[in-house]
Every structure is written in C-alpha cells, then in structure tokens.
Symmetry: D2
Subunit: 138 residues, 4 copies
C-alpha cells in the first residue's frame, strides 16, 4: 500500500507565471515524506531531532516535472520507500492531481540517519527498524 | 568564467535541527539561476513572462548535498550553463561557503523555453540565442 | 459560526530556535483566509485574479503573538469577518493549538477588492455581496 | 542614521496576481531586522540562540501596504529602533523601491529578549545594552 499525502495548492505557492513556483515542489515532497515518518514509524522529524538527538538530513533530492499545478488542483503525493540501507532511506515520490490522477512530478529523495551531536551516520535506530523494513516496496 | 551569486544564509532558512532546511536549497539554486538570466541575457524571468509571453519552466532539478549550511555561512552559488539544446538549457550548480570554499551542494537544473499561451516548447528566442550560446561551458 | 482552518505545523516551518519562525505566521493566517474565501463565496483567489480580473490585495496585516508553536502542535486558525466596507474586508484571526485550545496568535487582516487592470478599488462585486454580508460577525 | 537593507525582489516572491505575495513582506522586514542585529550589536540571531542561549521572539508585527512590488524593483528596507524597554525592542520599518524611493510598506515589529531555557523575558543583555541604547532613534 503506497502512502498518500493530500494538500491544497495555495495561492502563495504560485508565481507570476500563474503556476506553482519550481522551488515549492521540494517542500511538497518533503511535507509528504514528513507525514510518512509520522505514519510509518510514529515519530516526527521534530521529535527525532529534539527528543532523541537523531537527524535525517537529505543527501539527494531530484524531481522531474511532468505538468504544472495551480490552486485549482488538489495535490496527492504518493510516498514509497523503495530502499532501506544500513543508515539510508530512498523514497520514490509521485505527485498527482487528486481527482484526475494527472501526473505532475516524480522524484527520488534519499536521507540518512545521523547522530545529531557528531553529525555522523548511524544505523537505522533499532526501535524504527522493523517498521521501516516492513514498509520497503520493491 | 563561471557566474557567481552571493547571499547570506538567513535565520528563517534554518529548521529545528539548527541547519538550513532541505527545501530551501532549491530556492537558493533558482535564485542564482535567476541572477544568471539577468546578467547573461539581460531579461529577468518576470519580464520574460509578463512582457514577452515566454516562460522557462524547469523540467528537472536535482541536488546532492555535501555539507550543511547555517547563518554563520555566506553562500556562493556558481552557475554554469553546461548545455543549450534547441529549447532547453542545462545548468550545473555548485554551492560553496564563501570564505572557506567548503562545498555544500551540487545540482543540475534543466529548463525549457515555452510559449506561455500554448505552454508548448519553442526554440531559444533569437534575441537571446547569441548570448546563451556564448555562455555554454564545456 | 466562526470559520476554522486546520493544518499541521511542518518541520520546515521551524527555525534554529526550535519553534515556528515569525515570518511563517502571516502565511498561516493568509492560508486560513484563502480557505474562508473558497468556503464563503465559492471562488478562490486564483480564480478571482485569473478568471475574473479581480484582485484582493491586503492593505494591513497585524499579528500579536501569545505562545510559540512547534510541529508537536496542530494549528486551528479561526477566521471571522468582523467588518465589510464598500470595497474592504476586515478579518479577525485567532490561532490556537487544536487539542488544548491554547492561544498562539491573534491578528487583524484587511484586504480591498480591486480591478486588476487598473489596480483601483471597486465595490464588493455583486455576485459575492450577499454571501459576504451574511458572514459579517459583530 | 537609519539602517538600510537592500535586496532584489525574486521571481519566487511573486504570486499569480503578478506582484509580491502578501505573506512575503514579513520575511522582507525580518531579514532587514536580522541584518540590523548583525550590524548594530555584532551578534546574529543564530549565534544568539545557538551560542548564548538567548532568544528574541517577536510579540508583535504589523504592516501597512502602500504600493505593490515586482521583480522589476530593488527593495530598500529602512530599520529604525524607535524604542528600547527593559527587555523589548520596537522597530519602525519602511520599505521603498531603491531607485525611485516609492513607498511600498511601513511596519512596526516588537521583539523581546528571552532566556531560551525558561522562555522567560530577560533584561537586554549587558554586552548589547550600550550599542542598543545608542541606536535608539527618537
């Protein structure tokens, strides 16, 4: 089952060309991945960094744009965990217009678990490992 | 000569992990490419869309993160036009901390000239072609 | 009945102090007012400017901050239309944490209907007038 | 001598109405106040929160909009410290188009020094007091 995150496209997301500004799409993707973390492992990025001293910085993000978005659209972002390494997670992201399922963008986002104090990579923390491994979609 | 764009890292660019939020880096890169357009072809994105009816939507953006940034850093973003096709431009982006030259991120951004009314790709407009071809770095 | 808009506080909304960045609150308020327009008069800001040539620029925004927000919080923003003039609308905004009802911010936002071509104020357009007058809360 | 902060208006700051989005102006003002802190007391917000455990959250922000901005404009934001209390600073903000001096917005922003650990207001820290008192404009 692929995780889905839904959000309205806001007027403030558009630019003078009348469509969503390129720089906004990475926020859309990150917001959907953030929701995936809460739903899948039950801990938010904020709790992870603040309470547990664990970070998940991204080492790669890429996006291919297929069609533009406007506030007429509701965005449905699919988040699939396509790979889990020792410390890294690779997400495949697909953004669609909610009702027509028109494809808007596809992306790949890779993050790494790190110890916040040393900024060094760490193995996926034990309490999250089972949930993460169970979420890998191949 | 590679084009360079300089900016301070703002407090509002950081997140609760104490470093610049992942979603901000595409704005940094786009802001530097926007400055490249003004400097190289003498027409801003705003003038292009508003006065000339020409858009330059991005079809691909990717970023690899090498080290984090904070407001202690001033960012120097290098913009190199690595390829110009019939209607597309491919930029190689390199973000460094200004004084130490420490590498922060590398990226590839591809945009396409389009007729705004039809949203169809068009050849690089004649008035811009010479300046663009002269800027290609191989 | 006061209109309510609900949203999660995102990790990307925070800053290095570990709370939502001051500059984000006006976006929260505007996003809630944007939802009020869709719900109350059935036309979005995007449709108004793109399809009808009508703008609603803000002439005043103010915010008083009562307590900070983090991604542990879900935000509930109440939007009340407190006054409707010939062309202006005055909104009273109240931001609360959804479950505890803890007050986070209070604001006053004033916008004016304008003809987009001339940028001159216009009377509240006839098709919206009844819905708007019916929404005024005194 | 009033402190001035200069910045280009970016394409990504605009919305589908072809002018700068309302929600961006508080970021413009905050960015100018942030530069004022670095210039006046020699410590950035980031250093204050990270190195010194001191916060300066805003308790009030208000903006009156006089004319719109586009990326054709370069913005010159004047920051005047109009009042310094025991723990609070009141700034008067004036945004103008750089070359024509056309007025775009006026604002009032009030922040309070707090101990980050307790979130309680503190007196303006001794090392900053002289520089701050010397900057008050009446």
């Amino acid at each position: 089952m692929t995780f889905e995150h839904r959000r309205r496209v806001a007027f403030g997301d558009t630019d003078a060309a009348g469509i969503v500004y390129t720089g906004r799409f990475s926020s859309y993707a990150l917001e959907a991945i953030e929701a995936w973390f809460r739903a899948t492992i039950g801990v938010s990025w904020y709790e992870m960094t603040t309470d547990l001293g664990i970070g998940t910085p991204f080492v790669h993000t890429s996006l291919d744009f297929r069609s533009s978005l406007t506030p007429r659209d509701e965005l449905l972002t699919e988040v699939a965990l396509s790979k889990a390494g020792r410390s890294s997670l690779t997400f495949t992201i697909t953004g669609r217009v909610a009702d027509s399922r028109r494809l808007s963008f596809e992306g790949r986002f890779v993050c790494v678990f790190v110890d916040k104090a040393s900024a060094k990579p760490i193995a996926i923390p034990a309490p999250f490992r089972a949930a993460i491994m169970g979420a890998v979609q191949t």
